[in-house]
Symmetry: C2
Amino acid sequence: MSEVQLKEALDSLKDTGVRITPQRHAILEYLINSMSHPTADDIYKALESKFPNMSVATVYNNLRVFREVGLVKELTYGDSSARFDFVTTNHYHVICQTCGKIVDFDYPALDEVEHFAAQVTGFNVSHHRMEIYGDCSECAKKESH
Amino acid sequence: MSEVQLKEALDSLKDTGVRITPQRHAILEYLINSMSHPTADDIYKALESKFPNMSVATVYNNLRVFREVGLVKELTYGDSSARFDFVTTNHYHVICQTCGKIVDFDYPALDEVEHFAAQVTGFNVSHHRMEIYGDCSECAKKESH
DNA sequence: TCTTAGATTGTAATATTTATAAATAGTGTA
DNA sequence: TACACTATTTATAAATATTACAATCTAAGA
Ligand SMILES: [Mn+2]
Ligand SMILES: [Mn+2]
Ligand SMILES: [Zn+2]
Ligand SMILES: [Zn+2]
């Protein structure tokens, strides 16, 4: 299953005229298999044994390329560094304010809100972002002690 | 009207045991009167004629204090610096992807989404954030040329 | 007025991300 | 397969935003 995703991703790069390098292959593979929301530095560290000479700029450059092609979404929060999510199905995120855990969360897209915003503001609306914040069950348990 | 908001804000600081300094007074006043979503540096620059010796650290420190007390909300986007919004009524934001303009936007809070997320993930949900992205009418017009 | 804990200031440090230029390598073509 | 062309990588420096720190100052209660 993840092999299929990787193959489709590589094909979509090829279709856009983006060269497939070993670094790109490895970053995509890591994003697909990790099933998480890693930072650029997470990816850099995870691949440094395989690519001891890879530059961190390469990770950033390729994540931008992947974002532009539509393969990954960039999740930006206030605090620290951006996180990257391999695009599969549309979903939202629930984030623990205590430990930082990010949980995927399926919910129908809020089309009404977009339409309403377009009408009220005159914007040409393209998309929205939403995140839900709280404490995960582990952290909530610890706090109650 | 803004005098009332300023007075209430100062009272709420006093109630929390936060000292009222000229710098804090000025930052709050600016946030309330600007009716916009300034960055820390916007505030710093706007007040430098009045406080030639004020440190940018003071602006950051106080914005954090105000956030902790609940007087301001910090809006963090990917690209540049954080923006700050004096808390009045609950509202969302519509953001122009081209020029960066931020427009306030009233919409009933998405309580259902929060409840659903809590049930599905087991989180103790506290709040959510949502922004709508698109192009404002001016930018959309320019692009069509 | 005096005292003192908290606030401000000036500066250095940290961290993330981007820019740059030289070296390298992927891919289409012959 | 070998070549040529150009995209990509690498290494490093730079830009930017934010925080840490220590010395100085001051708001506010006694
Ligand atoms: Mn996700
Ligand atoms: Mn606002
Ligand atoms: Zn947690
Ligand atoms: Zn615009």
